[in-house]
């Protein structure tokens, strides 16, 4: 089974000289790390940095898979990410969207496989274009996107936003199964909006506090 780990070393980010957060360090090889903090504390930015969608102002991110450090390019397919500003092609169906992203990432896409992935988040393979999707359905599709390439590391920003009980249940299942295999990092303002976590990283202004979730 693939073993993977993600390490952050003294990450900080500032925009135009104004610091957002600093001193973020952790090492995770399996289980769920919850990232919490108030609005504007930089949770989304931190997850984007971990997903190589942004560069940190200082510090480094290392992702290892099977004992080997992955390049920035390899991380694109080995690290799955979704966040609130992730959008899909409005004219295309959910299945067409996922099929395209798999092919653009360099993976073959099969109809049967895509249907299974959509069913896992409670979406059917119907011909509805994404522009007619509700908020909850879009969120379900985002979750499917983060697991689309069977990544070693999963990053979920606001995974529960707009989801009903059924949808939350689907996220719990997906996260639990991924956390047995490797690291999962999930971010939200409050711990209640996240799947059960093994560790917590709280961003408070320029300092971060890590610890265990309180029972």
């Amino acid at each position: 089974m693939a073993s993977a780990r993600i390490e952050a070393v003294d990450l900080s980010k500032s925009f135009a000289g104004v610091p957002l957060f600093g001193g973020v360090s952790f090492l995770l090889d399996r289980g769920v790390l919850a990232v919490t903090g108030p609005n504007g504390s930089g949770k989304t930015t931190l997850l984007k940095i971990l997903a190589s969608l942004m560069r940190p102002s200082t510090g480094t991110v290392r992702v290892e898979s099977e004992g080997r450090e992955l390049s920035r390019d390899e991380r694109r397919s080995r690290v799955g990410w979704s966040g609130p500003d992730l959008a899909f092609y409005p004219e295309l169906t959910a299945e067409q969207n996922l099929a395209f992203f798999r092919r653009a990432a360099g993976f073959a896409s099969e109809r049967h496989d895509l249907r299974t992935r959509l069913a896992a988040v409670g979406l059917d393979g119907s011909g509805t274009a994404v522009e007619h999707f509700s908020t909850g359905m879009r969120q379900r599709l985002r979750i499917a996107f983060s697991f689309l390439l069977d990544p070693d590391v999963v990053l979920l920003d606001e995974p529960m936003a707009g989801l009903d009980a059924d949808g939350r249940e689907a996220v719990h299942r997906a996260v639990a199964s991924a956390a047995r295999r490797g690291p999962v990092i999930a971010a939200a303002t409050d711990l209640e909006d996240l799947p059960p976590a093994d560790e917590v990283l709280e961003i408070r202004g320029r300092e971060t506090v890590s610890g265990k979730p309180k029972p």
Binding site: A2, A51, L53, M54, R55, D73, R76, S77, W81, G83, D85, L86, A87, F88, Y89, P90, E91, L92, Q96, F100, F101, R103, A104, A105, G106, F107, A108, F145, L149
Partner: protein, 228 residues
């Protein structure tokens, strides 16, 4: 464990096919370009007509007018391919799965097809409306193809740069004109020669070199242009 991975071209082709599928649903890019080209053609033919130009200056003026129409039609439609990704917010998802080189190659391929569609319609229409005699069609086809390759690649690369800036449309014209001028000038020279029945080796060689240089530069700089 490792599944078979698709190669660079298959991935770029996926981007191109997706754009074609999207375009098939809305036809905004194609529609706006063709509308623009038609307007420009109508204006030019109304203003100068078949006899409005002095006979000795016709060859160069016709060639210049044709490339001006092609350039502005392209500037209207080609940047859409990347600007649309930012408008729909899908640029982020695309960045998450594909490197800049794959995206730019796919978009450039789509833009080249779009350019061929414009050229296939506007060049014959132009020739008919202005009674433009072309002695060597083969030479003209060569010029249009070579010019189209460079125009598509440079436009695609530059639209990746302006896609996330303000005032995109004006900005695209500002940044593309000085870089496309060294393509347009030899293209016009070679078009003049084609209408007079000859393959003009010197400007065609410049076009080939330009296309090659632009392709290499766009490939190497795609990551810097597209990824944060």
């Amino acid at each position: 464990m490792t599944p078979t991975r698709l190669g660079f071209w298959s991935r770029a082709w996926a981007v191109c096919a997706k754009d074609a599928a999207q375009e098939g649903k809305r036809r905004i890019a194609l529609g706006s370009i063709l509308f623009f080209a038609a307007t420009a053609l109508a204006l030019v033919s109304y203003a100068v007509g078949p006899f409005g130009l002095p006979a000795d200056a016709r060859a160069s003026l016709d060639a210049a007018l044709l490339w001006i129409i092609l350039f502005f039609s392209a500037a209207t439609g080609l940047p859409r391919a990347l600007v649309r990704e930012e408008e729909t917010g899908t640029g982020l998802a695309l960045r998450a799965v594909a490197p800049g080189a794959v995206v730019i190659a796919g978009k450039a391929a789509f833009n080249f097809l779009l350019f061929l569609a414009i050229a296939a319609l506007s060049v014959p229409t132009f020739a008919v409306l202005l009674e433009w005699r072309i002695e060597s069609s083969a030479a003209l086809v060569a010029v249009v193809l070579l010019g189209g390759v460079g125009l598509s690649i440079v436009s695609t690369f530059l639209s990746a740069l302006v896609a996330r800036a303000g005032q995109r449309n004006v900005l695209f014209l500002v940044v593309s004109f000085p870089l496309l001028a060294p393509l347009l000038l030899p293209a016009i020279a070679a078009t003049v020669a084609a209408s007079q029945g000859s393959f003009a080796a010197a400007p065609l060689r410049v076009l080939v070199a330009y296309d090659g240089a632009a392709t290499c530069a766009a490939y190497l700089l795609a990551g810097a242009a597209w990824e944060d």
